[in-house]
Amino acid sequence: MTDERQLVERCLAGEQAAVAELVERFRSPVFGLAVRMLGHRHDAEDVSQESFVRAIRGLRNWDRTRDFLPWLLAIVGNRCRTLLAVRRRRPHGQALVDQLPDVRPEPSSQLLAEEVQLGLSAMRSEYRQVFLLFHDQELSYQEIADSLAKPVGTIKTWVHRARRELIEHLRSRGVVEESTDALR
């Protein structure tokens, strides 16, 4: 935390190395969230870059009493949602999953990963954002709530709905067999 604060102070002082260090330190979660939210590597890179630049420009707005990462990821999530909204308005959509992984996992895992990615891309961007922040970035509910300025209860509800929607998606795609029995 103190380390983050020092790094931010150095960035604010205009130290180029500090900016590079900041980007280097957080690029993985930032890019990871963007890729999972957008399902498109190039868009994710653009959004990550834009998010970093916005964050660096607005470093003075970061609440020093809180962690840096949730604040940064909230910016990324919001930028992704903006791009997704733009995409929805386009007459012809882009391929939702068009990036090939550099390191290819086992076929079954790859299939699962693609289906999960597809399910994510089909759900409401708010659900997707909080689901990824919680289950992928492993931020706490409180951190997500703080960074998105929403009540914790809302965030929990959205994560629960996101899980259910993903399960439904996997079922509808035949990845998970439908149960013959309804839930009792």
């Binding site: 993985s28 870059q49 660096i56 996992p105 289950h135 929990k156 996997l170 998970v176 149960s179």
Partner: protein
């Protein structure tokens, strides 16, 4: 355990363990027991296991190698742009202050200097006044120190002040700066009008007097028509002199 309870506890478990996969592989025995008996919940549990397996199978992706360099370069160019904007803002502020100060200085100069060309010309009838208030000149030269603050305040030259003195019925003998100031303070509008009217004509005592007679309230017509009154006023000059 009912299915609703199973789902609630499953969500509770996932709320405590965001990584998902590990906690789902080691379920509490009560949940395992229910899942083994209930196809629906068993299917749901499989679905969650698949979901988190799929989520963790999404390959870790890294941005391109120039990613960091691009952001650093962009943030630096942004900083220089911001600095440039700030510089322009400072420049604009300084220019604004300079303009305001210049305007203030111009306004001060305009108000402190006679600007005959911008004032309406007052027709001066030479010869209408028979006597010249000579005492004004001599009085001024004798009491210049007393007159200075009034002159600067009223922006009148010494001749005009002499005329004012006489018209106000003040004797040079009893004159003091305080007396004149007090008198003039009672009629500020009158004095402003008088000062404005005097500016174009102060080179000539006759012209000044004539102009004064024209601008004094109530004297415009009377000054033209009542020669007797005017002679009376002029004779007061002479008496004072």
């Amino acid at each position: 355990m009912r299915c609703g309870e199973f789902e609630r506890r499953l969500h509770g478990l996932l709320d405590e363990h965001p990584e998902g996969s590990r906690c789902l592989s080691r379920l509490p025995s009560a949940l395992e027991a229910h899942a083994s008996e209930c196809d629906a919940c068993s299917g749901q549990l499989r679905g969650y296991r698949q979901l988190f397996a799929g989520l963790s199978a999404i390959p870790p992706s890294n941005p391109s190698t120039q990613f960091v360099d691009r952001i650093v370069a962009e943030s630096l160019s942004l900083r220089s742009r911001v600095n440039l904007y700030r510089w322009f803002a400072h420049l604009a502020t300084a220019a604004s202050v300079l303009i305001v100060l210049s305007l203030a200085a111009v306004a001060r100069n305009r108000s402190s200097q006679p600007v005959a060309q911008t004032l309406p010309a007052i027709p001066v009838r030479h010869g209408a006044v028979r006597s010249v208030p000579r005492h004004a000149e001599s009085f001024f030269s004798a009491s210049s120190e007393s007159f200075l603050p009034i002159r600067s305040r009223l922006e009148l030259d010494h001749a005009s002040v002499g005329v004012v003195l006489n018209l106000a019925g003040l004797s040079p003998v009893t004159f003091s700066a305080e007396v004149l100031e007090a008198h003039l303070a009672q009629q500020p509008a009158w004095m402003v009008e008088l000062a404005d009217g005097l500016r174009p004509v102060t080179e000539s005592m006759t012209g000044t007097l004539n102009a004064l007679l024209r601008v004094l309230p109530g004297n415009t017509e009377a000054a033209e028509q009542d020669h007797g009154a005017r002679h009376e006023r002029h004779s007061r000059y002479d008496r004072l002199a």
